[in-house]
């Protein structure tokens, strides 16, 4: 191994020995690559493609809900749209985006030359297009695609499901395997490849939150796999895990699903917590407040996520003691989450702030995620949940934590690290425009959902009474605006890749971390020799 840090740009590197050559040419570079940056890039593009696909399904949903009455689609297709929108956004857009960020940034942040298991890394990415190809293809089958909601409660998803459910199960298995391999890779990288001196408590929070996320993935994705395997056996092999007729129990399905499902919710938000914890200090020009407590808060959130699952099931008929336990445990989550919000606010306090696009997204993240947290607190109150459960109030709640939470976190990260990835600064004016349009569109789309939910509109319905009409129209307009704005993001990214003001190695004066010690764009190979961390 050479002792020279490779500083060559993509495609030109022959400076060192054989280990140092740059990427191969053409398509095979992407098919066969084991380079963490290439794979990270592919993950990010894939997730953005899925984001647009899942988003267009959301547009169909909002177009149908624009007015009362059935105008555009029939109920059975509407159900397929809500189901696919959920599945694609959760498993296709948010999770791969975080894996992409992890691939790109974790080696750069801990001073590692690559991920620990580069070939597996390639495989875990290429499983995803296969999985989603399979899933989306079911829409074109005779009985239609999955139509039982992304939570696929039995027996609607077993005895009463369309034929395509078997493809759906196989697709879930594939994406599960992909996520598990990705998670194992992340853990192996973080625990083994840190540069000398990079102790655990010196790692950037993004690395910490990803480490914890990876453990969550390893713990719960197999449970999901078990859950869909049981469905498969019920459908094809005559077992009765979830069918009362054979001595099974449909409620068991919900317990198994939410045992996976609740940690899954944190899988989709913890990496965003980490990214925002790097971005806010950078633009406040002040170190992160309470680093240690951030680490412990993340760990406690992860732990608590395993003992709160039944709060998704308050109406299935749980005994009083069960309801009380899950209500108290759920309320407890507010404590570590609160600590995080207070820490971010204190990091901003008495800083010297500027508001470039990443900071705008990060601040919006903190505020809007907190609003989602408030509605979460309300939902945790079991007796009140009897009124909120399965209404648009819940839809508003989880879109407030997922859109400004996960998605804004990803946008903030993308803008923050785009200069490092491409070597160019993105167009700041367009970036700000993207932010404000997204911010306004998102609030317009999801805030009124609180109202219609409280007024009594159930979720997953294609048509509604006129008393919900006004707010639904506002919601739809907001959603169209939010959706259209994302094409602007595509434009900004392409523009940034193709050119723009050259970015310095450290384009943000307040930023901190090893990733800013390598040039921009980051060379194909970095940290062949581990850096020293003081």
């Amino acid at each position: 191994m050479s002792a020279v840090i490779d500083t060559d740009h993509k495609g030109h590197g022959h400076a060192g020995d054989d280990h140092h050559h740059g990427p191969a040419k053409g398509l095979m570079r992407w098919v066969l690559t084991t380079n963490h940056k290439d794979i990270g890039t592919m993950y990010l593009w894939f997730s953005f493609a899925m984001f647009l696909l899942g988003g267009s399904m959301a547009m169909v949903i909002r177009a149908e809900l624009f007015q009362p009455g059935l105008q555009i689609v029939q109920p059975e297709f509407f159900n397929q749209m809500t189901t696919m929108h959920g599945l694609i956004m959760v498993f296709g857009a948010v999770m791969p985006a975080f894996v992409g960020l992890a691939n790109w940034m974790i080696p750069l942040m801990i001073g590692a030359p690559d991920m620990a298991l580069p070939r597996m890394n390639n495989f875990s990415f290429w499983l995803l297009p296969a999985a989603f190809g399979l899933l989306v293809s079911t829409l074109f089958t005779a009985g239609g695609g999955p139509n039982f909601g992304w939570t696929f409660y039995a027996p609607l998803s077993t005895t009463y499901a369309p034929e395509s459910v078997t493809f759906f199960i196989f697709a879930i298995h594939l994406m599960g395997i992909s996520s598990i391999m990705g998670a194992i890779n992340v853990v192996a990288t973080i625990l083994n490849l840190r540069a000398p001196g990079m102790t655990l408590m010196k790692m950037p929070l993004f690395v910490w939150t990803w480490l914890i996320t990876a453990f969550l993935l390893i713990a719960v994705m197999p449970v999901l796999a078990g859950c869909v395997t049981m469905m498969l056996m019920d459908i094809h092999f005559g077992t009765s895990f979830f069918s009362a007729a054979g001595g099974g129990d449909p409620v068991l399905f919900q317990h198994v699903f939410w045992f996976f499902g609740h940690p899954e919710v944190y899988i989709m938000i913890l990496p965003a917590f980490g990214a925002v914890s790097s971005i806010i200090p950078a633009f406040a020009r002040k170190p992160l407040f309470g680093y240690t407590s951030m680490v412990y808060a993340t760990a406690s959130i992860a732990f608590l996520s395993f003992i709160v699952w039944a709060h998704h099931m308050f109406t299935v008929g749980i005994p009083l003691t069960g309801e009380l336990f899950f209500m108290y445990a759920t309320l407890l989550i507010a404590v570590p989450t609160g600590v995080k919000v207070f820490n971010w606010a204190s990091t901003m306090w008495r800083g010297s702030m500027t508001f470039e696009t990443p900071m705008l997204f990060a601040v919006a993240f903190v505020i809007l995620f907190t609003i989602g947290g408030f509605s979460g607190l309300m939902l945790a109150i079991a007796p009140a949940d009897f009124q909120y459960h399965d209404t648009y109030f819940v839809v508003a709640h989880f879109h407030y934590v997922l859109v400004p939470g996960a998605i804004f976190g990803i946008f903030a990260s993308a803008y923050f690290w785009l200069p490092k990835w491409t070597g160019h600064m993105y167009d700041e004016t367009l970036g700000k425009l993207h932010f404000w349009m997204s911010f306004i569109g998102m609030n317009m789309a999801f805030f009124p959902m609180h109202f219609v939910g409280l007024a009594g509109m159930p979720r997953r319905i294609p048509d509604y009474n006129m008393m919900f009409a006004n707010f639904n129209m506002v919601s739809s307009i907001g959603a169209f605006m939010f959706g259209a704005t994302q094409l602007l993001f595509l434009f900004i990214v392409i523009k940034c890749i193709r050119g723009g003001k050259p970015a310095a190695a450290k384009p943000w004066d307040g930023a901190d971390g090893l990733e800013w010690t390598v040039p921009s764009p980051a060379p194909y190979h970095t940290f062949q020799t581990p850096p020293e961390v003081k």
């Binding site: 083994n192 713990a219 994705m221 197999p222 449970v223 078990g226 092999f237 009362a244 001595g247 129990d249």
Partner: protein
């Protein structure tokens, strides 16, 4: 390369965790059943009860009987009486009537459930037609007994409990893999 060795060992351990968690998903099934029967979650009752209890003559509880057909089930299915006043600890019997009006032999499985769910753990069936599947020939009519004891320790605030059966058509199902133990 101790680093490579370390990675290999770690990956091996993590893979074991993955396998263990996959198995845990399946283990949730029996765990759930035990929890349900211990705490009466979902109104599930335990299998055949073989204990005997002293009758509490002081207290009376109303037991109500429901018979429901699952979708696609065309049998006539009902309890012979709407309800029964019983003393906790005493043994009681209720007959259910089933009739197959179709022109083909059919197999049915009755699934019991008790409300309120907190009473389920205190409801013991000593004999029940739901322990086995019922086969009726075309036009056949039978009376099926359930014998039960309401536990003396039934919480004082429960005055009234409901035993509900749902009858499922299992003719087309493959032979049961797991014996129904309700």
């Amino acid at each position: 390369m101790s680093e490579a060795l370390g990675i290999r060992r770690l990956v091996l351990r993590l893979s074991l965790v993955v396998v263990a968690m996959f198995a845990f998903g399946f283990a949730l099934v029996p765990i759930y059943d035990v929890m349900c029967q211990a705490f009466g979650i979902n109104g599930k009752t335990a299998g055949a009860y073989s204990g005997a209890q002293v009758v509490d003559e002081q207290r009376q509880v109303r037991v109500q009987f429901l018979a429901t057909n699952a979708a696609g089930m065309s049998w006539e299915f009902r309890a012979k009486a709407d309800d029964l006043l019983v003393h906790p600890g005493g043994s009681n019997e209720m007959l259910f009537v089933a009739f197959n009006p179709t022109d083909r032999p059919m197999t049915a499985q009755a699934i019991p459930s008790v409300a309120p769910s907190k009473a389920a753990a205190f409801f013991h069936k000593t004999e029940c037609f739901c322990f086995t599947q019922q086969v009726l020939q075309p036009g056949e009519r039978i009376e099926m007994p359930v014998r039960f004891i309401v536990d003396r320790d039934l919480p004082a605030d429960v005055h009234h409990l409901t035993l509900a059966y749902t009858l499922f058509d299992v003719t087309a199902r493959k032979p049961p893999v797991a014996q129904v133990s309700q």
